[in-house]
């Protein structure tokens, strides 16, 4: 019963932390690569995290949908292999937001690192 509660709590916290981090990493990858197709973006996250942070396609879809909703990312059609595919790129608002986020994330990492060392 207690183990179940612990698993539930861990699952919830992991989900919350990861979804924010995925969004940040997705913005970062788009900034570095310029534009990426959804599949390539997922692969990029896998590569940069050494396979530790790989969102499912459903999760990545929801993240991209939410980033689009806030105007941080825009999608456009490309043609590959004879069919239309969706590609994504950062908007100017996305660039601005990412710039502010970078320093905040570094600060979080510094604080989290300090706390875990104590």
């Amino acid at each position: 019963m207690l183990g179940n509660k612990k698993e539930k709590a861990l699952k919830k916290l992991r989900k919350d932390i990861r979804s924010g981090f995925y969004a940040y990493l997705a913005l970062l990858a788009l900034e570095q690569k310029g534009e990426l197709h959804g599949y390539a973006l997922r692969k990029e996250l896998e590569t940069t995290s050494n396979g530790h942070l790989v969102p499912s396609e459903g999760t990545l879809y929801d993240i991209l949908k939410s980033l689009k909703k806030y105007g941080l990312v825009e999608d456009f059609w490309v043609q590959a292999g004879g069919r239309p595919r969706k590609s994504y790129k950062l908007t100017s608002l996305g660039e601005e937001v990412l710039k502010e986020l970078k320093s905040e994330v570094l600060e979080i990492i510094r604080i989290a690192g300090g706390v875990s060392c104590e």
């Binding site: 197709h37 599949y39 390539a40 879809y61 490309v78 590959a80 239309p84 595919r85």
Partner: protein, 265 residues
């Protein structure tokens, strides 16, 4: 009241047929938009939803008709609401399913940008045609009778009538809105139509919509001229036949496109 039973029956039959074809992409039965054409998953999700929705909506419409005996106009409004919700939600379902499956599918080869065609010249041509119609209508207004013919039998004789304002202004406006609306939709949302057309295909689609619009304007203008006695009802019939011929040619082109570009997963 019978209309309610008829429409609910149609919805249920439509729902059952869609359910039977929910796993079988085809060009005839089911939700056919760009997304469902391109992805079996999008086809399955959109059609399963559409099938269940149509059956439930049909049963609700049947119950409303049976227990409340609403007038025909209320039933028509209900049906319109049902169809609008069906169109929006199934399109959304198909879009989401396609984009999810797109994320898990590796990119083959190098990607080329897909640009959408500028719809402005087509829209301007369509608006000019509407302007010409209303110019003719304004010039002929004084010569038109208070009740005018608005519908014709297959041999060109009038069999439907309306007041001058309704027949010259309101009904034509409803007809004139359709093609420009689709022109905007096709240029902005290429996946809304049955085949995801880009580039040349999109230009052809916009040209087809503009030709259809011209023919609609011609049909309504010939009716106007018939009502002032300038021409016979046969002209309206031939203009209407042209619409059918163009539609058949377009349907053939779409069928060729479908068979030459089989669905891939």
């Amino acid at each position: 009241m019978n209309d309610g039973f008829y429409m609910s029956g149609m919805l249920i039959i439509l729902g059952v047929l869609t359910y039977l074809f929910r796993n079988i992409p085809n060009p005839y039965i089911g939700v056919r938009v760009g997304y469902t054409y391109l992805s079996k998953e999008a086809w399955r999700e959109a059609n399963t939803f559409a099938a269940v929705y149509c059956i439930v909506a049909g049963l609700v419409l049947w119950a409303v008709t049976y227990f409340l005996h609403p007038p025909k106009d209320t039933i028509l409004l209900l049906l319109l609401g049902i169809v609008v919700i069906l169109a929006v939600t199934t399109y959304q379902k198909a879009k989401e399913a396609y984009e999810r499956s797109d994320i898990r599918t590796p990119l083959e080869g190098t990607s080329q940008p897909l640009t959408t065609v500028n719809a402005k010249p087509y829209l301007i041509a369509q608006l000019i045609a509407i302007g010409i119609y209303f110019l003719i209508a304004a010039l002929l207004w004084g010569r038109l009778p208070e009740t005018i013919a608005v519908h014709y039998s297959s041999n060109g004789h009038p069999d439907g009538f309306a007041s001058k304002v309704m027949g010259v202004v309101v009904y034509p406006l409803v007809g004139f809105v359709i093609m420009p609306l689709f022109t905007v939709l096709v240029s902005k949302v290429p996946m809304l139509i049955r085949f995801p057309v880009f580039g040349k295909g999109q230009k052809l689609t916009l040209a087809f919509l503009t030709i259809m619009h011209f023919l609609v304007v011609v049909v309504i203008t010939t009716s106007l001229l018939y009502n002032v006695g300038v021409i016979g009802g046969g002209w309206t019939k031939w203009a209407a036949i042209c619409i059918v011929v163009i539609t058949v040619i377009w349907a053939y082109w779409m069928w060729r496109h479908y068979t030459s570009n089989p669905l891939e997963e």
